[in-house]
């Protein structure tokens, strides 16, 4: 009976946790327009799935403040050739609350236009109603040789600075989907267990601890 009670509690918490997690992510989507590549989400390149044939232009995000690292690649006609020009990596920080947001960039046709874009960073971020969403953006400061850059480290440095687009990446309560469902579920369960324990009365807390001891 006690084991069944604990199991019921765990299942309930698990279900509620999963529902919350799914609700928190499913309603918060970022859509990237053509040419935009996502390098990192909330300080981690591992959060971006780079499968061989994976064409991901839609990403789920946790509710609240988010930070992404992106570049824009454009085809530029030079004589009879087409060259690819890629912008410098830019950090964009914004808040998402049960919305689908679309990130777009102007059409770039020349090298000069790409240089101008790197200076002006005139991205547009809109919601599903076409309304502009406020965001902060600046280039990720990179100096020296650009081979083998560790973007995770560079973003850590950036977020320790006082730059407007820097954020504290520990504020999100719910873990980002790391691609490992088991790890994500357990993290959610732990969070929910702590949540319910904290809001229970002292008597309920005591009974819960006693049941754990007996099991």
């Amino acid at each position: 009976m006690k084991r069944m009670s604990l199991t019921v509690i765990a299942i309930t918490l698990f279900t509620l946790g999963l529902m919350n997690a799914r609700l928190a992510y499913a309603d918060n989507m970022l859509h990237l327009s053509e040419g935009i590549s996502l390098l990192a989400i909330n300080g981690k390149t591992e959060n971006v799935d780079k499968g061989l044939f994976n064409k991901q232009s839609r990403f789920s995000l946790p509710k609240g403040e988010n930070q992404i690292l992106i570049t824009l690649t454009s085809e530029i006609k030079k004589g009879s050739d087409i060259e690819l020009e890629t912008s410098d990596p830019a950090v964009i920080t914004f808040t998402v609350t049960n919305q689908t947001l679309t990130l777009a960039a102007p059409k770039i046709l020349t090298e000069n236009a790409m240089d101008t874009f790197n200076r002006e960073l005139n991205w547009t971020l809109t919601n599903s109603d076409g309304e502009n969403v406020v965001f902060k953006t600046e280039l990720l400061p990179l100096k020296g040789f650009r081979l083998g850059i560790d973007y995770n480290e560079e973003l850590k440095k950036f977020n320790r600075s006082k730059k407007p687009a820097a954020i504290n990446l520990n504020h999100n309560l719910l873990p980002i989907d790391s691609g490992d469902p088991a790890a994500t579920e357990q993290a959610v369960i732990l969070k929910m267990l702590k949540h319910w324990y904290n809001i229970a009365t002292p008597e309920t807390q005591s009974r819960f601890l006693q049941e754990l001891k007996n099991n």
Binding site: S37, L39, L52, K55, L109, T110, G148, I149
Partner: protein, 307 residues
């Protein structure tokens, strides 16, 4: 059509996070970029005399240096090498210089001097990987599109791009040539015009237009040359339609009419290109083409890496 054993080694070239960026070094106002365009094809050439062969195309390495001089002024230089000739024929010279020039840029205006493409090389809507046999891309590509002693100015403002170049008559025997080119990008429509005068050889001019319809782009160009010593003008007309079949796959269909010395040649081509979503700089492609001047259809398949 001969059967071709297409042994395409599709190895996903997993480049690092910096792969798409051509910037090698950037600090204290100095930027060094390296770019490349490597392409290899398995091709059944339309010339009957040629067997199916592996062809190397555009094996280029491009080096760009830019110095920020402050107050919106930059100095820049470019050095491009191409290795395709040596790869295709071991008896030919080793890597040849494609472009080498120095210049100054102020805001959106740049002047450069050296070995480079002329302004009229910007003209044209043609979208074939290899020109159909016996036809040219356009009249400028046929008459002159590059020089060793070129002075060129490029300027752009609010969607309008202007370019003018002059090749000095030098001791290497190349005739002096002056090119003018102008292009306007107006949302869904792009129009362009070009003119070229080559001393003692030809005057050429051309017009082009293309329309971006979202999932498809259609374009047309016409160029004509008045060549000294010829009673009739030579001309080239291109029609092209490019489709985005999926996010990663594009298709291009083209028709070419090429008039030379009073002889009319028609040609067509069709190609498909697939860009790997994880690295769009890696592309697989295939093309078929046919022309009145060729003995049979031209068929090719290949892979391209850009960085």
């Amino acid at each position: 059509m001969k059967k071709i054993a297409l042994a395409l080694a599709v190895s996903a070239v997993a480049l690092s996070n910096t792969a798409a960026a051509a910037t090698i070094y950037d600090n204290d106002g100095l930027t060094f970029k390296m770019k490349g365009d490597w392409q290899i094809q398995l091709r059944d050439n339309a010339e009957k005399a040629k067997e199916t062969d592996v062809e190397f195309d555009d094996f280029e390495i491009k080096n760009s240096i830019t110095y920020d001089l402050g107050k919106d002024l930059q100095a820049f230089g470019q050095l491009d090498f191409s290795f395709d000739r040596e790869a295709n024929d071991a008896t030919s010279d080793s890597a040849h210089l494609e472009e080498s020039y120095l210049g100054l840029r102020f805001a959106s205006t740049a002047v450069r001097v050296g070995k480079m493409n002329t302004s009229a090389d910007e003209f044209g809507v043609e979208a074939a990987y290899e020109k159909p046999f016996g036809v040219g891309e356009d009249q400028f590509e046929r008459i002159k599109d590059a020089g060793d002693d070129v002075i060129r100015i490029d300027a752009g403002y609010a969607g309008i791009r202007f370019s003018a170049s002059h090749e000095v008559e030098a001791n290497d025997g190349d005739a002096a040539a002056t090119d003018l080119f102008m292009r306007g990008d107006f949302d869904l429509v792009t129009v362009a015009a070009a003119f070229q005068n080559v001393d003692n050889t030809a005057d050429s001019w051309g017009l082009s237009a293309s329309f971006d319809l979202g999932m498809a782009t259609i374009g047309a160009d016409y160029s004509v040359s008045d060549i000294d010593g010829q009673s009739e003008d030579d001309s080239t007309t291109n029609l092209v339609a490019k489709f985005k079949a999926t996010e990663t796959t594009r298709v291009a269909l083209g028709l070419v009419n090429y008039e030379k010395n009073g002889v009319d040649n028609d040609a067509w081509y069709a190609n498909v290109s697939y860009s790997f979503p994880a690295q769009k700089n890696v592309k697989l492609f295939a093309e078929v083409s046919d022309s009145d001047a060729g003995d049979e259809m031209d068929v090719l398949a290949g892979m391209q890496l850009k960085f």
